[in-house]
């Protein structure tokens, strides 16, 4: 069932953060499937995370600019268009260019298992596949992402 593949397994209990964790939920590319992104945004907000949702049809540049402006700690990308092999690495590259390589990037959508190792190699922290529960993602964010600095 719910399979989440990648490094970044939950570590020790995080210290009480000084401020709320800030997550950007992003929809890069041209596909309009935002059902998953909206569910995740809502669930994270309910779990006490500060959530910024980009809305649809974002370019990697738009997403990274928003991430910089909002000074986020993590970015969750939802891609169901099949363009993940281009979009994820592009976002990672742009983040490094802005010296934001420490922002934790995770994602989900329609991503064949065979593509996941390549994405992890590019620096994506974790890729969630269909069937993942809301709770798993919330637990992952709680355990893995803390306020930067």
């Amino acid at each position: 069932m719910a399979t989440a593949k990648g490094k970044g397994a939950p570590t020790a209990t995080p210290k009480k953060p000084a401020r709320k964790v800030r997550i950007l939920v992003g929809k890069p590319g041209l596909d309009g499937h935002d059902r998953g992104a909206k569910i995740i945004a809502r669930a994270l907000r309910d779990a006490g995370v500060e959530v910024i949702y980009t809305g649809l049809h974002q370019t990697p540049e738009m997403i990274v600019n928003t991430a910089a402006q909002e000074d986020v700690d993590g970015i969750g990308l939802s891609i169901l268009s099949g363009a993940h092999n281009y979009l994820f690495p592009k976002v990672m590259e742009l983040l490094r260019g802005k010296k934001m390589g420490d922002v934790v990037v995770f994602g989900g959508g329609i991503i064949p298992d065979g593509d996941i190792p390549k994405l992890l190699k590019k620096g994506v922290d974790r890729v969630f596949t269909p069937g993942t529960t809301i709770r798993e993602i919330v637990e992952y964010v709680n355990a893995r992402i803390q306020p930067r600095k």
Partner: protein
């Protein structure tokens, strides 16, 4: 339809049955759950009897097939006369790739075509736009210009095969290219049959492939209505779609209500544009989802026909019976397919397809088992098509009209579906119609709430999905997937650039400025100008860019 006195006796007997027979059993062996509900979480009771539908009148509420209010079907003989059209949605890679898939499907007994365009086309961008990077040919076929359209329909006689095209934001532009292809094949427009989805309202609500804001988009749509009623009279001008609303997470009632409310908005817009209702309404068609809850879906289709008939006759005073008939396409629910144990999807699709057929659909797409992972392989498409053929040829369900009509359960569900959907429609009317409701984010929010609620039910195990939160297995055997060659993008970009080099640049420019000018003049129909632009190989992206300048663009309000 029922004798009141007899119903009173029945109600009393039922009470007695409950106390004498059912309750003692339940005391010993309770039911599996405290509450049973549909996939939309509507409660279902243990037994349906006629006393709960004492107001049902055969003539007024059901009627005969092919007659008002069409609850039992829009054709008098339904599938005894002609089976539904088996129409698999297909498109990937280049126009050549998809042309080959079309020919394969036709050779396997498919009876109509349905085109899936890639995202850049759906959003009005050419393949060489920076917005198209990584997406060319991936989720559908790349169409930038008439050149691609010529290749896509090469060797397919457009006067014999009907084609459905899932295109909304740039529906007018793609349709113009299709008309130009027909011209080249020597097929007169009046002989063309097919459908453009052209349902922009559900784009704002659910599918999200939009370009322009609602008002200019509605103007383009009424231009298409007027143009087709004159020039392409057999064309289905709008496929008013609940499919995507449902996929976005709505309930069955919401799918029905919002879709019919969209239909009301289009009819209203057509009338306000000065087109007589009976001139365009017969060419409106519908497109619904076939989700997992078998009877709820069948009730939805039956209720949809009855509601539309009543709305068209009583609200819009349409006189032509063809304006009252709700004809619809069905697609099985993509969102119910699971990545886990994907072979199980074949069974899900069969159940959903059967619901579509028992609900009286005019055409059907059955999803392939691998579609949660990628576009389907030829092998899996074949199984999906065979599923329809088995229902048609072997199951016997096509031998009579509306086989479930008169079922206490189905009739009551049909009534409830209509009542609840009408409540939504009244609310939307009170807001000033669907365009106003969309601007307020009303349907969007209702759907997001429903989708979140359902996900909670799944996560809590209250709704069980085989292979996901029930009967899961560990490691799974991967199934073969269709991969889009990365060279498709390069080749497509090169082709579109060549098209721009080879065309008459003066004529192309003239077309674009004429288009812009006309877009600023209400009352000028844009369709003839778009057809002319298509003939001159003006690209889709160029046409859309020209209109973006004058009409503006719509952006996602990004609420969650």
């Amino acid at each position: 339809m029922y004798d009141r006195k007899k119903l009173a006796v029945l109600a009393a007997n039922r009470k007695k049955w409950k106390s004498d027979c059912l309750d003692p059993l339940l005391a010993k062996a309770p039911e599996r759950r405290k509450r049973f509900s549909t996939v939309s979480d509507e409660e279902i009771v243990s037994l349906y009897t006629p006393d709960a539908q004492s107001n049902l009148e055969y003539d007024e509420d059901l009627g005969f097939p092919g007659q008002y209010p069409y609850t039992r079907g829009v054709q008098p003989s339904m599938y005894r006369g002609r089976l539904w059209t088996m129409r698999q949605f297909a498109g990937y890679g280049s126009a050549e790739d998809t042309n080959a898939r079309f020919k394969f499907l036709l050779s396997q007994g498919q009876t109509g075509l349905s085109t899936a365009f890639h995202f850049p086309t759906l959003m009005g961008y050419d393949s060489d736009s920076p917005r198209a990077r990584g997406e060319v040919g991936v989720c559908g076929v790349a169409v930038d210009s008439l050149k691609d359209m010529e290749i896509l329909f090469d060797g397919i006689p457009l006067d014999k095969v009907t084609t459905s095209m899932t295109i909304n934001g740039p529906a007018a532009m793609v349709f113009a290219m299709y008309l130009a292809v027909a011209e080249r094949q020597g097929v007169p427009f009046r002989k063309l049959g097919g459908t453009i989805q052209n349902d922009i309202l559900k784009e704002y609500i659910a599918q999200h492939s939009w370009i322009f804001p609602p008002e200019p988009s509605m103007r383009i749509i009424t231009d298409i209505l007027a143009y087709c009623s004159d020039q392409v009279p057999k064309w289905n001008t709008i496929s008013i779609s609940g499919y995507h609303i449902r996929e976005a997470g709505s309930t069955a009632v919401q799918e029905l209500a919002f879709t019919i409310a969209d239909g009301i908005a289009y009819v209203q817009a057509g009338i306000e544009a000065g087109i007589p209702v009976d001139k365009f309404a017969p060419r409106l068609s519908y497109f619904f989802n076939a989700h997992m809850d078998f009877f709820e879906e069948i009730a939805k289709y039956r209720a949809a026909r009855r509601m539309w008939a009543r709305i068209m006759r009583d609200r819009f005073r349409a006189k032509d019976e063809n304006s009252w008939k709700l004809r619809f396409h069905t697609q099985t629910a993509g969102c119910t397919l699971t990545a886990q144990q994907p072979m199980n999807n074949v069974v899900r699709v069969a159940i959903q397809a059967l619901a579509g057929v028992l609900g009286g659909t005019q055409s059907l797409h059955t999803n392939s088992m691998d579609e949660t992972l990628a576009l389907p392989t030829e092998q899996s498409v074949m199984v999906a098509l065979r599923t329809q053929q088995i229902i048609a040829e072997e199951s016997g369900v096509a031998n009579t009209v509306d086989p479930l009509g008169g079922s206490f359960f189905v009739e009551q569900l049909t009534n409830e579906m209509e009542e609840k959907a009408m409540e939504y429609i009244r609310k939307i009317d009170d807001m000033g119609g669907m365009v106003a409701a969309i601007k307020r984010g009303y349907p969007q929010r209702e759907i997001a709430d429903a989708s979140f609620h359902f996900q909670r039910l799944v996560d809590a195990g209250e709704k069980r999905i085989v292979g996901v939160n029930a009967y899961a297995i560990g490691e799974e055997q991967p199934i073969p997937l269709l991969r889009i060659d990365e060279r498709v993008e390069k080749k497509q970009v090169a082709r579109t650039r060549e098209v721009r080099r080879k065309r008459n640049p003066r004529k192309a420019l003239a077309c674009l400025s004429a288009l812009k000018e006309a877009s600023l003049a209400p009352g000028v129909n844009l369709m003839p100008l778009l057809v002319e632009a298509a003939r001159e190989y003006v690209t889709l992206g160029e046409m859309c860019d020209a209109l973006r300048e004058t009409m503006g663009v719509y952006t996602d309000p990004a609420m969650f």
